[in-house]
Amino acid sequence: MNKRNPPPSGLFPPLRRIMALVLRHLYLMRGSWPRLLELLYWPTVQMVLWGFITLFFLGHSSWVAQAAGVLISAVLLWDVLFRGQLGVSLIFMEEMWSRNLGHLFVSPLRPVELVCGLLAMSLIRTTIGVGGAALIAIPLFSYSIFDLGLPLLAFFANLIIMGWSIGLVVSGIVLRYGLGAESLAWISIFAVQPISGVYYPIDVLPGWLQVVAFALPSSHVFEGMRAVLFENVFRMDLLINALALNVVYLGGGVIAFLAFFNNARHRGQLLNVGE
């Protein structure tokens, strides 16, 4: 029998493993400038587009004129949700594309730690992408979303958590049904956009759809954003609603991912990943 390895030193083991996974994806980002550019590209393009629409509406819409930053804020916050979801799904699919899941899952890395690593990378990617676009908006449209102050942090946190939840479910589905289902990563989030009230108030929707809309954390966030911009009021009730829903969403997302993972272990899909 060989001599046992000395005990691992340093960080709390789960944290160390999560950081190793994050390091793996930071290496990937560092080694590929197109990946970094892609992080900034869409949020910036969207922001510029809605910035010019705002400039146009300022002279033609009294609603927009009341709060000039409403559309830019909306598009940037929507991108937090979208990038948050995409960050989780793409990072997970990166492991499938590289056929690395087998190595990861015979290592001491636990599925929950993988989930934490995915969320951490999503946070980093979203901050770079949306943060960069938000900075570009300042000189371009003389509008800083950072003027929202602390409420911005609450909006960001709630939207990214909802994005993570959907991203985890999508990742689980891709693990279960193979990379043939990867397009879900790009399109799934848009199913909730029309009823999230990103660019218009929820009361525009028919009554029955408003009930569905308020089951989404994102609707409460965008209503809250408009309350800050139009009325200068931070609606704590909306924040609490969003947070409570997000507890359910994130819990559901993690449970769904772990269930899909367990199912993949029954079906032998951790070694044979692909279309």
């Binding site: 190793a20 793996r24 899941l101 087998g102 015979v106």
Partner: protein
């Protein structure tokens, strides 16, 4: 007597109507090098996957180092490692980056020292900073082996460790495994289609056919039993069910 490193008891794996592994039962003793042999679809990779916990058996029990793998696999995963041509490393990361990430996942105390040592042992120096995806098949195999040896595993599971390698590289890999085992006393279980590899490395052979263990023994004992000159002929005899024609016991081997 020492407890076996691996104990497989009545393990069965069924995918729908297909029985991939049918109530197999075997032990792998401490310090042995055991081969899992069989034709395509015999159940070798399925068995290895279940030992690793990547695949859950339909029924049965697997213990490694005395730990139930279905319940507590995380207690022993840091003491084992594996390599398989069906699993890759991230292609865009350099060799160093890949090994560094896994060294951290395994919690090695001094990553740089370990990587330097592995680099020397496996001659990785010249391509340590090259992307993994840019390497030749032989170089990739060496890197995969380095990853498998990172945590100095007491149990090494290898799926076709020399598949698609030229004879020189294959010989190098076999030599490396022999040296590792001689130095550490590690237990090795490998699935292979290369019979000369089995004769050279293994002191025990488990023969699988259609998900059943149909024979087991030391290579020399199998050669004698089948009256053959080499393991390749024994393999063909068993794969073509000549075992029965030879008048040998056709019951499943259960231990």
């Amino acid at each position: 007597m020492t407890d076996p490193v691996i104990r497989v008891v009545n393990v069965r794996k069924q995918f729908g109507d297909i029985v991939a592994v049918d109530n197999i039962r075997f032990d792998v003793p401490l310090g042995s090098t055991t081969a899992l042999l069989g034709g395509n679809g015999a159940g070798k990779t399925t068995t290895l996957s279940m030992l690793l916990g990547l695949l859950l058996p339909t029924s049965g029990e697997i213990t490694i180092f005395g730990v139930n793998m279905l319940r507590d696999r995380y207690r022993v995963l840091s003491r084992m490692n594996f390599s398989s041509p069906y699993v890759d490393l991230p292609r865009r990361l350099t060799v160093y980056e890949n090994l560094n990430v896994y060294a951290r996942i395994y919690g090695l105390p001094d990553v740089k020292v370990r990587l330097r040592k592995l680099s020397e042992e496996l001659n990785l120096d010249e391509f340590m900073n090259r992307p993994y995806g840019h390497l030749s098949a032989g170089q990739k195999t060496r890197v995969a082996l380095a990853k498998a040896l990172l945590n100095k595993p007491e149990l090494l599971l290898l799926d076709e460790p020399t598949a698609s390698l030229d004879p020189d590289t294959a010989d190098y890999v076999r030599g490396m495994l022999e040296r590792y085992k001689a130095r550490t006393g590690a237990t090795i279980l490998l699935a292979s289609h290369n019979m000369s590899e089995v004769e050279r490395l293994c002191d025990d052979v488990i023969m699988l056919r259609a998900g059943n263990i149909v024979d087991r023994g030391m290579p020399s004992a199998l050669l004698k039993r089948y009256g053959r000159q080499n393991m390749e002929e024994v393999f063909i005899d068993i794969a073509r069910e000549r075992r029965i024609e030879l008048g040998l016991d056709s019951r499943k081997v259960t231990k």
